[in-house]
Symmetry: C2
Subunit: 763 residues, 2 copies
């Protein structure tokens, strides 16, 4: 059916498909010892969290991306998952190498706990017997790849429309499976990352049952080698018919060779989803080692390389029958590469060789791949082009392979030190970027933070409108739609409109005897001017009824004139038909974030500033402060870089300074009047230091407007004194308060409001 003529017509949908990544990492202590703590409770039940669970060992975190429409998206999702897990395991680290660190006595290695009666735990005990715990601790990457429904529909059309999709899937996936098994040696050669093992690492010999040390030799991937992660025997299966394949596997189980299908560990495996009723749904590529040089643990080039081989396996003509002999040859080739892959000048043994050296074998295959996929326009896609060029580079420069670099880095008994350092680097990356959802960094930070919490809790999501930050959360059919993180189903529309309307908010608060700024509401300038005598002589604020971000607001503090008043009115009325005049409340403004009648964060903002040290210039101090990874540009980070702009310069001049001034040690110099974070201001967490009466007040105000989520802005004269009628006022209730300022303040703790929000949403 898959003739060349047919295949040629499949160009349109060839790159479409779903891509998912599964990755295991051992949790270790700061010293690189296997962590003996339980799988963190924040991740929920191991069978309940679709993204984060355990593999064989309780200490072995497995992270799983959902199937996503591109490699980029799967990679970014995995990176985020890796970052989330790093962040949530306290001081522990994720061991970045597929081969384990120094291990405790076998008896101390914890098997993942599911309850003694659980089939999951029983299975793990069984394989622990068969393969030894140490082998089961070897970690790796599984890359799941499918072709799209469009692809199969088109194939059905091209082939006359009568063949069932299930039949086509069988044929297509079996072909890819056969050929990728044949050619997999090249990916092991190119992307193998386990050249060395910890010096005391031993595994149970599958031949003798005795523990044997894993030694490196000229290995590029010990994990893929004879002592690596594989079945105790080489099983020859029928890869030409699903029925026969299934029959073979069933026979192995019947004979007691395997405990179940999931004990079958081939390098490439068919996977079956319920929706496909027995037809294969995708292929699981199992030959990639963890990449200790990548912060996410995955080498993106290896993913592309795998997919390139996958496509080649589908689209190239099969040159030989994949019978038992061929299967054995493919295994031998893998073993050979695993053991000797670091020496490119070496050739395969004669019976396996197609060219004198491995380097030449690689070149031959790459050339064939290039020609084959070129016909399908694969290289028109920049990502694939770049990835292929990188493969060509590695073929030409085999010492540039990560496996070779890792070999060098771990010489002189440096295995533990090197990987521990890598683990710490990745941990720091996670901490520095703990506010990012990779692949979604164009979305609002509050949304990114909410989604990080979501995947941590096993909650899936779908983006309904990216620009609007409109997402749909879903865990086991419990669906919640969330917009900009805090526009949710928890608050009803009437409540939101009450908060949006400053006048109504004030009325509701005042009728509950909550202190709000006194003043009036005016529909025209004339009526406002009638009240002028009421306001003259006291500090006031003139503001449009319903604009945000301080737009159109005039503050008249002291000695203001009727003319100032008139100007204030002109400005405010240019933004709204209704204008409020209010007493100016003194004190500092604090944002109280309230969820479900609990104050979960209190924040105060101060204008952009630097602290003098008597040595550095203002310019240098700003540059230093801007090095903080939380400071960025255009609201993609929790804080913004302080600008060295005209406004800052003028504000310095007013204070008698310029950018080259040196400020006294310990003196705080402000560079702006306004405290907005967007102009470099600092966010300071006060959650634990404000008098409790204000928290009660914020909750009372929240109840008065009927809200579940709100940001109450309170002016407070003295945070240590209890609230009285004369020392505070609530100036606004925000229905869409930001999360990130409370999670990544300039000073203070991460208040984890993203997690509290999810909890409030019922996750």
């Amino acid at each position: 059916m898959l003739t060349n003529a047919t295949l040629k017509q499949l160009k349109k949908h060839i790159l479409e498909g779903l891509f998912g990544i599964e990755k295991e990492n051992l949790r270790v202590t700061q010293n690189g010892e296997l962590a003996l703590t339980p799988h963190p409770a924040i991740f929920g039940g191991k069978t309940a969290n679709q993204f984060i669970t355990t593999d064989f060992s309780e200490s072995q975190v497995e992270i799983i991306t959902p199937p996503l429409p591109s490699i980029e998206e799967a990679y970014d999702f995995l990176h985020t998952l890796h970052s989330v897990v790093s962040q949530e395991i306290g001081d522990e680290l994720l061991w970045p190498q597929s081969l384990p660190p120094v291990l405790p006595d076998d008896s101390l290695i914890p098997i993942a706990k599911y309850g003694a009666e659980s089939e999951f735990e029983i299975y793990r005990n069984t394989i622990s017997e068969t393969y030894g715990k140490q082998r089961q601790l070897i970690c790796g990457i599984h890359f799941n790849v499918s072709l799209s429904d469009n692809f199969f529909k088109q194939l059905q059309e091209i082939t006359g429309g009568t063949t069932a999709i299930a039949t086509l899937k069988e044929e297509v996936y079996l072909k890819i499976l056969r050929q990728s098994m044949t050619h997999r040696w090249m990916l092991v050669w190119m992307f193998g990352e386990t050249p060395t093992a910890e010096r005391n690492f031993k595994v149970k010999s599958l031949a003798t049952g005795l523990d044997v040390p894993m030694k490196c030799g000229a290995s590029i991937s010990l994990r893929s080698g004879p002592l690596g992660y594989r079945n105790k025997k080489e099983y020859i299966l029928d890869y030409y018919s699903l029925q026969k394949y299934n029959h073979c596997v069933s026979r192995l189980i019947e004979k007691g060779e395997l405990s179940s299908t999931k004990e079958l560990y081939p390098p490439v495996r068919m996977k079956f989803l319920e929706k496909d009723n027995g037809a294969p749904s995708y292929l699981e590529l199992r030959f990639l080692d963890l990449s200790p040089l990548s912060v996410s643990g995955v080498n993106k080039s290896a993913l592309y390389g795998s997919h390139i081989l996958y496509l080649y396996s589908l689209l190239s003509q099969e040159k030989e029958l994949f019978d038992g002999e061929a299967q054995h040859r493919a295994t031998k080739r893998q073993d050979y590469i695993s053991c000797f892959g670091r020496c490119p000048d070496r050739g395969f043994p004669e019976e396996l060789a197609k060219a004198p050296t491995i380097a030449e074998e690689v070149e031959l295959l790459l050339n064939d791949i290039y020609e084959c996929l070129n016909d399908y326009g694969v290289w028109d896609n920049q990502n694939y082009k770049t990835a292929f060029e990188h493969m060509q580079f590695l073929a030409a420069n085999p010492n540039q392979r990560e496996g070779v670099k890792l070999f060098e880095a771990t010489q002189n008994d440096n295995f533990m030190d090197f990987y521990l350092a890598q683990a710490k680097l990745a941990k720091k990356d996670a901490a520095d970027n703990g506010f990012r959802f990779y692949g979604l960094t164009d979305m609002e930070m509050s949304t990114q933070l909410m989604l990080r919490a979501a995947i941590c809790r096993g909650v899936g999501f779908k983006i309904l409108d990216r620009k609007e930050n409109f997402v749909e959360l879903n865990r086991n059919g419990k669906i919640e739609r969330v917009i900009q993180a805090t526009k949710t189903s928890l608050d009803n529309y009437a409540t939101v409109l009450a908060m949006e309307n400053k006048v109504v908010t004030k009325k509701l608060l005042a009728s509950d005897n909550i202190r709000v700024p006194r003043g009036g509401e005016y529909d025209d300038k004339a009526s406002a001017k009638i009240d002028l005598p009421k306001y003259l002589g006291q500090p006031i604020v003139i503001k449009p009824k319903s604009t945000n971000f301080g737009i159109g607001i005039t503050i008249l503090k002291d000695k203001w004139s009727e003319e100032n008043f008139q100007t204030g009115l002109d400005i405010a009325f240019s933004h709204d038909n209704t204008v409020l005049i209010e007493e100016f409340i003194t004190g500092r403004e604090f944002r109280f974030f309230v969820i479900n009648d609990e104050v979960v964060g209190i924040l105060h903002r101060v204008p952009a500033n630097v602290m003098g040290d008597g040595i550095h210039t203002v310019r240098e101090l700003i540059e230093q402060k801007n090095l903080d990874p939380r400071r960025g540009k255009n609201y993609h980070t929790p804080l913004e870089k302080i600008a060295l702009g005209r406004e800052e310069e003028l504000f310095l001049q007013l204070q008698g300074y310029n950018f080259d001034s040196v400020i006294k040690d310990g003196e705080q110099l402000f560079l702006r009047e306004n405290s907005n974070i967007s102009t470099g201001g600092d966010s300071l967490d006060f959650t634990d230091s404000v008098h409790h009466s204000y928290k009660e007040l914020a909750v009372k105000a929240t109840k008065a407007v009927g809200a579940k989520i709100t940001g109450a802005d309170i002016m407070i004269s003295n945070i240590n004194e209890p609230a009285t009628d004369n020392n505070h006022a609530i100036i606004e209730m925000n229905f869409n308060p930001a999360l990130h300022i409370h999670c990544f303040p300039y000073e203070g703790k991460n208040r984890r409001i993203n997690f509290k929000l999810l909890e409030a949403l019922g996750y």
Copy 2:
């Protein structure tokens, strides 16, 4: 305490206070017979509805306004209540005269049902014995008037600050009570409206216990006369001390003269609210008859007149002691006016007289009132000035009094016919204006309709932001905030945002297999142009992602060019950063109003049109159609008048007509292309005529977006055929659908969505 010097200082708050009106009307049939039907269930329990209940008889509706800060507001609220009750009693009418129509046999007059055990019913049986049912059917107006808190606070300050407010209230209200009792005769003279009774009307003589006919003589107010609505004896009370007053009343109850305090029927009565802890809260003025010449049943001048007398009673010096003799004299004066008030040339009997004729007595009193209140600036208020001038006019032209006009109108045994006609006029007024909430006609019609339903159901309300149509409903502490009628607590914010976002709406509907227009979403013109070939040759709509009211939408039906496409994009992108291109769905658009998973109304709109008759010109037909009271201007009515403007003229020209053309009989001529109601379009109710599958679809769509209240706009090819994939599409889900189009369609039934909305809100 209330010295002249003190009183002079009270000017500032003198007109402030709360005003409430209570009014009774008998329900009668179209023939003027007493309706023997139960109090309508729509008004809920008689003790549960604060606005609409029964008085003595089951057929006697009592409507009660809340206390409101001005006479205007109280009057408008009463008018609305009257209109609501008229509308909700089916074919029955509200009898507009205080004195009853032809009555059935005494035994058939139904006492209001509360349950035989109820104290309310027991009380009614008792008074029915004492006074006879006929007397208890006499209806009237009670006008409740208080002075403001500011007034009493100022009085407290002026008098040294040490006197308790309660004491001041006692003193003030007792003074007003004494003096208004003294002068009440003038209001009876001026505003008495019961000159004649139905010829067979008899009442039980309070002296003999026998039924005696009520005869007119020269009466102006039979209701206020000796046979009118009053206690069986004249009780002399102490009006100088609350304690003594209460003591007198208690004695009467102890002696069995009265069954309870509420059986005390003086013309002016103190009323006590719980909040005032025994101090009087306001005065109830009980001397006004129903006004059969006013559609609301209340003569507004009489309200102002009463308040003017009230103020005069407070502010003028007391000339005599209000002892038993004075009280009796006041009663006599009232009786004398009641019986002979129609003859202004007559004078009081010598012992009561202060001037030769009643007309002169009136003039004397008015002059005194004028002088007295002039010092307080009362005449600076235009409403009071006008009202007082009207009183002067009546004094000078006594035949212009309504009582005299009613006498004339009911001569020649015309009592029943005349009042029946008046009842029908008022009924028509209620029907023609059934969409108005008087006093709030500046608010949106949907809000006015919701508030009409609210007061019908006994739900009180407070306006939080009038311009925004932001109201707070409250019945027995159950509070709901509602904005523009359909922005409520029923829908959560995430759901509203899903409906507001056309792209998200479509995604949610499509994922539930609901047919929506196919198409694409574009963030820039370039990407839209790439898809041009996809759209070329088929009818499409180009629209901004999130604007309303059809702004920025281009429809390209047939033979459109790339240039048209470009122009459409230009227009749409000038309104939004994201633009949708969709297939143009043929068919007619129907609005499905869904509340709580039920389709409660289906509406279709057609452009402004007239129906030819072969006789009249287009201009005449338009003018005729515009006479419909539902057609108005600027959205204050359910339909808008058809304009005779440039656009209509051009549209006629295109069809070969002008405003002076005469159109064939039965030919429908359209004056506009667009079907907006705002440009004179017609709204046609289709609730009962659309295939049920579309109703199911609308409900399914409502569930898909998670809404409780929505207006689903569905394009339908043929309303008689069931929905299939090819004959319809849902084009929008509106989170703020209008109510009024379904309640007052041009053609079809009132679907009473305002009531369904209130029910959904839990009222």
